[in-house]
């Protein structure tokens, strides 16, 4: 299978690998998994008082597409408000990385991780969860 150059680039030079202390109150943590393949992905956001994401980190145990998806997601999250971040869609990741159909679930995983991290942060802070997250489920 031919992977796009962007996937390979993110896989070889993943951005923002690592973790924040999940007990800090300005940190939101999302831990999600893909039962189809057993991949696990942790994505964390650091948020300032204005509700803007100042930094993001991830650690993913999974295939190249899962790593690239989460790497790209952390890049995109920085500087976004929680509302903007909550509106990020996996389809944008699919487009940017040119993911093949059988790897689309990797981008879904990244979207799930973003949402889980925002929810975790909002619950911790006692602030309202962005509207686009409560619409589903």
């Amino acid at each position: 299978m031919a992977y796009s150059e962007k996937i390979i680039e993110h896989y070889n030079n993943p951005r923002n690998v690592g973790s924040f202390d999940k007990n800090q109150d300005n940190v939101g943590t999302g831990l999600v998994g893909a039962p189809e393949c057993g991949d696990v992905m942790k994505l964390q956001i650091q948020v300032n008082e204005e509700g803007v994401i100042t930094d993001a980190k991830f650690k993913t145990f999974g295939c190249g597409s899962a790593i690239a998806s989460s790497s790209l997601a952390t890049e995109w999250l920085k500087g976004k408000t929680l509302d903007e971040a909550a509106a990020l869609k996996n389809t944008a990741i699919v487009e940017e990385l040119n993911l093949p159909p059988i790897k689309i679930h990797c981008s879904v995983l990244a979207e799930d991780a973003i949402k889980a991290a925002i929810k975790d942060y909002a619950e911790k802070k006692g602030v309202e969860v962005p509207g686009s997250l409560t619409a589903h489920h």
């Binding site: 831990l31 999600v32 998994g33 893909a34 039962p35 189809e36 393949c37 057993g38 991949d39 696990v40 942790k42 650690k59 145990f61 799930d112």
Partner: protein, 228 residues
Amino acid sequence: MAAPSSSRALAAPSIYTPAVQDAEALHFEKGALRPLPSPPPDHFAVFGLPQRLRISTEAVRDLYLDLSRRTHPDYFATADEAAREESLHRASTLNNAWKALRDPVRRAEYFLSLLAPHIESNKQAVPPSLLEEMFGIQEAGEDLREARLSGDGSRLDAAEKKAAGLRGEVTEAREALYRTLFEQFGRVDELLDAGEDSGSGAVQEALKEMRLTLDRMNYLRTVLRNLR
């Protein structure tokens, strides 16, 4: 066919063996290969089995080997082109069916694709504690790989010890899940044997449970692979 009642606490589950005559009639006609019907038989029917989860893999393997020998393309090397093609095609039909049925996890996945294709893996159904555990084990595997590269003997010893302990735990958890899976096989088969429709609520509920067990097994298989 209902499982026979037994005086023992746990009734011995009925385990299906191939109906050899049915398989014979499906594959041969007067000693020659009979073309497969259209639509083609499912993987169970290829071996004269009903759509059930508890099957005797030994008996299926014996039949698979027997049919494979007798339909082998070598026997048809001098036959006409249609027969040669038929035999080639039959070899792959038999191989695919055996591959799908021999392993319980694959068999369960195939069974779900036949009887409940709409049941999807449910990410929400796996408890967060399991994910945290999986993540921790993955990190131990990463430590182990880094320790190997570090050239630091005591660090490697510690990482290997930890990995060995985790491997033991995961293996045990996996065995427990296999036992759960076999129990669920029994539940599904019993419902079907009792005449429940495969689309009925009870059967679909039992299949959902089975899906969850398979999902958990996927996580464990992946972490085990990364703990080497």
